[in-house]
């Protein structure tokens, strides 16, 4: 069988392409001609050969891809590659809430007061909450002893963690080489594992090893890693890097199994189990439930592992901080870091870190302190990290869209819901980062494309930002929007308050008149009150507004209280352009609760209006 064509292309992976290559190769001979007929014996041989080549090619390709962090697709391989770089992916994290619990006038049936030891709430004690109509179980993270005063028992700062409390026990056996103890549940919060080892009747607590440089031969530490099935496994020191275990030592691991749905936002808790037979607890929530997060995704591991390797567990550059903050707080939606020298005014020797959690706008004080404490351990002596709340510039959207009612079966209300969802999706997809830009035309396009019957839309935006005041404290403050503001000419709209509106507040010494801020179009902020619906200006120069930089500066004033329950004043302004950028440490975000959507039947396309007579369009400046 002389074959003239010596070129057989062996690089394809697809079965059919390989078979075609073999057939092309066989065209170079005339001994066997039936390779093109499906039923021929040659075709059977070609198929077999192509199949073997295909399997071998795919295997080689997968094996080669999985060898590198960039191209690996299978989680266990990504985790393994990350391990080479010293990076440990985050596990699931349970949502948690800080509460105070109080039992009042507690008396035993015999009339005596129980002791505080009897009233201890043990780790794992169950509570629950109903959030969005679903009941979630919470457990106490650490045993708490109350303080007692005249029959009242108070438990301060009790950490309730969402999930189920589980204990796994193992016996250490030196016959087993390289022993690893796999936890029996997959969704485990690594930060909340308690490990104790009982050796010769003495029980000792072991801690999770985080920094190998501080571990001695006697350090009671354990190590964790994610195994190939995605379960967490524990292993112990070898007598050099951490204390080694002995035959027969009993290892007890207690941990929280994280729920599949995180109840972030839950704030009303109740007892499931009695405490020493008493159930009349008053539970006051200190911080609402937050911090629930899923296991680190493959993409996130790939991103962070390299950054982690670059930073080498030291915080020097801004990217080091970024990578580390994301590691310490995996639930972060967005992280911004900037040096104090970039602040206005500059604050040298500080690094500012601002992060926004996924399910709320701000970190709780406990979470902030926790992240800051961890950063302090790694940063340079001369630099202090400061966690600040992100300043949120809210974008208030008002959209009016025209639709052809002949092209849809949806009602006006349903179409409005479709558009609202398109705006929310746009927000989720585009505005979760600190360096994000709100691009007006993209939103307009997203609205137009949200449903086939939508023909056009007019979408107007306003910017809103809150400033929290200190009640009865005389001080000036600045509110920076970071974007130029609308001021087409000096004195624009001066009679109706320029472009500024604010929520109401009471000034110290005057608790009867609700006062507001507006501007005169000439760069002055005015303070006024409404008398029978008419503005009565109290202070013509209560502050200044810089239209070019977007900064409002209010002169010193003592505000007693605000109409907003969170002692804040919200300023709402009209931006000069439709695109909105985020200044350092600030986030732009569409205010989902204040999206206004109105649908109108397009009279031309539906045939009601001829030659445009009676057609109305929405003003691009109306709101």
């Amino acid at each position: 069988m002389a074959v003239n064509s010596s070129n057989i292309n062996a690089t394809d992976l697809d079965f059919d392409a390989i078979a075609d290559n073999i057939k092309t190769y066989l065209k170079g001979q005339d001994k066997f001609k039936d390779y093109d007929f499906e039923g021929s014996t040659m075709s059977v041989l070609i198929d077999t050969l192509a199949y073997a080549t295909h399997i071998s090619g795919v295997n080689t390709n997968i094996a080669a891809s999985e060898l590198f962090l960039d191209s690996a697709q299978i989680r266990k391989n990504v985790v393994s590659r990350a391990k080479d770089l010293g990076f440990v992916p985050a596990t699931e994290q349970a949502s948690s809430s800080l509460v105070n619990i109080e039992f009042k006038n507690i008396l035993n049936p015999d009339g005596t007061t129980p002791t505080t030891t009897e009233m201890i709430i043990n780790r794992g004690h169950r509570f629950n909450t109903v959030f969005d109509g679903v009941t979630y179980e919470y457990v106490v993270e650490k045993s708490v002893t109350p303080t007692e005063s005249a029959g009242d028992f108070l438990y301060s700062d009790v950490n309730l963690v969402q999930g189920t409390y589980v204990t796994d026990s193992y016996v250490f056996d030196t016959q087993v080489k390289n022993p690893k103890f796999v936890l029996s549940n997959e969704r485990v919060d690594r930060a909340r594992i308690n490990v104790s080892v009982t050796s010769n009747g003495i029980t000792e607590t072991y801690k999770l090893s985080t920094d190998v440089s501080s571990i001695l031969a006697t350090s009671k530490v354990y190590y964790t890693q994610e195994n190939e099935e995605g379960f967490l496994e524990l292993y112990f020191g070898d007598g050099v890097l951490g204390k080694g275990l002995k035959d027969g030592d009993v290892i007890d691991v207690t941990y929280i199994v994280v729920d599949e749905n995180h109840a972030d936002g839950a704030k009303i808790f109740s007892l499931v189990e009695n405490v020493n037979g008493f159930s009349s607890a008053t539970i006051t929530t200190q911080s609402i439930s937050s911090g629930g997060a899923e296991k680190e995704s493959i993409e996130s591991i790939k991103f962070k592992a390299t950054k982690f390797y670059t930073s080498q567990n030291r915080l020097v550059t801004l990217n080091d901080y970024k990578a580390k903050v994301k590691e310490y707080y995996p639930n972060a939606d967005a992280v911004a870091v900037w040096g104090g020298e970039d602040n206005n005014p500059p604050e040298y020797g500080k690094v500012f870190v601002s992060l926004k959690p996924q399910n709320s706008d701000y970190l709780s004080d406990t979470e902030k302190a926790d992240v800051q404490r961890k950063l302090n351990e790694l940063n340079m002596i001369t630099v202090r990290p400061v966690i600040v709340d992100p300043t949120l510039v809210k974008i208030i959207i008002s959209t009016v869209f025209k639709y052809n009612d002949g092209e849809t079966t949806l009602s006006k209300g349903e179409l409005e819901a479709v558009v609202r969802n398109a705006i929310i999706k746009f927000d989720d997809d585009n505005l979760s980062n600190f360096d994000a830009i709100f691009r007006h035309s993209n939103l307009v396009k997203a609205i137009d494309e949200s449903e086939d019957s939508i023909l056009s839309n007019t979408t107007n935006i306003r910017l809103a930002r809150k400033h929290t005041i200190k009640p009865n404290f005389k001080e000036g403050f600045k509110v920076n929007f970071g974007n130029a503001l609308y001021n087409p000419h000096s004195g624009h709209n001066a009679d109706s308050g320029g472009i500024t509106t604010s929520t109401g507040f009471y000034v110290e010494g005057n608790t009867t008149d609700i006062q507001f801020f507006d501007d005169d179009g000439k760069g002055n902020i005015r303070r006024y009150t409404l008398v029978s619906g008419v503005r009565s200006v109290i202070d013509l120069e209560a502050g200044t507004i810089d239209y070019a930089s977007g900064e409002i500066s209010i002169d010193a004033i003592s505000i007693a209280s605000t109409v907003n329950s969170d002692t804040s004043i919200e300023f709402t302004l009209i931006p000069a352009g439709n695109d909105v950028v985020a200044l350092r440490g600030s986030l732009v975000d569409i205010d989902v609760s204040r999206i206004s959507v109105t649908g109108e039947v397009d009279t031309i396309s539906s045939g009601e209006s001829s030659a445009g007579v009676g057609y109305t369009s929405t003003s691009s400046t109306s709101y």
Partner: protein, 140 residues
């Protein structure tokens, strides 16, 4: 003297149009090479391959094959036999473009636990009235 006429050096021989390996891979008794099947024999062997291959046997070709061996384990009813005959004809006509006018006769011999298969066909641009016959039996 008659002129010498140079014989034509080009000899026109009819080359085999179709040629294939023998599925049984039997060596030639003299040369020891694997024997080949040619022309009508090659087509006959091809039809036999199609009919005897079960579905899902060929990689990436799940619908390939007549699956006649599966027939051995079906109920012996006229409807079944007819359906199988029809399926086989369709399969051969689809996968073997060199033949036409295909008909299949299945003869289940239940007492002998076997199935006689007869396939009649004509070769395009070739001989008509061709047939292939074989018997399928249980292995155990």
């Amino acid at each position: 003297m008659a002129d010498y006429i140079k014989p034509n050096s080009k000899v026109n021989t009819v080359k085999d149009i179709y040629s294939d390996l023998d599925m049984f891979l039997v060596p030639h008794p003299v040369t020891g090479d694997i024997s080949t099947k040619k022309d009508s024999d090659a087509i006959k062997r091809s039809i036999r391959n199609i009919v005897l291959t079960n579905k899902f046997e060929r990689p990436f070709k799940p619908n390939f094959g007549g699956g006649v061996t599966n027939m051995l384990f079906e109920l012996d009813s006229t409807r079944k036999v007819k359906r199988f005959q029809k399926e086989m004809v369709n399969m051969i006509e689809r996968l073997e473009p060199r033949v036409y006018n295909v008909s299949v006769r299945l003869n289940p011999l239940t007492d002998d636990n076997r199935l006689d298969v007869q396939i009649f066909y004509s070769i395009r641009n070739g001989k008509s009235g061709q047939s292939a016959e074989f018997t399928v039996t249980r292995v155990r």
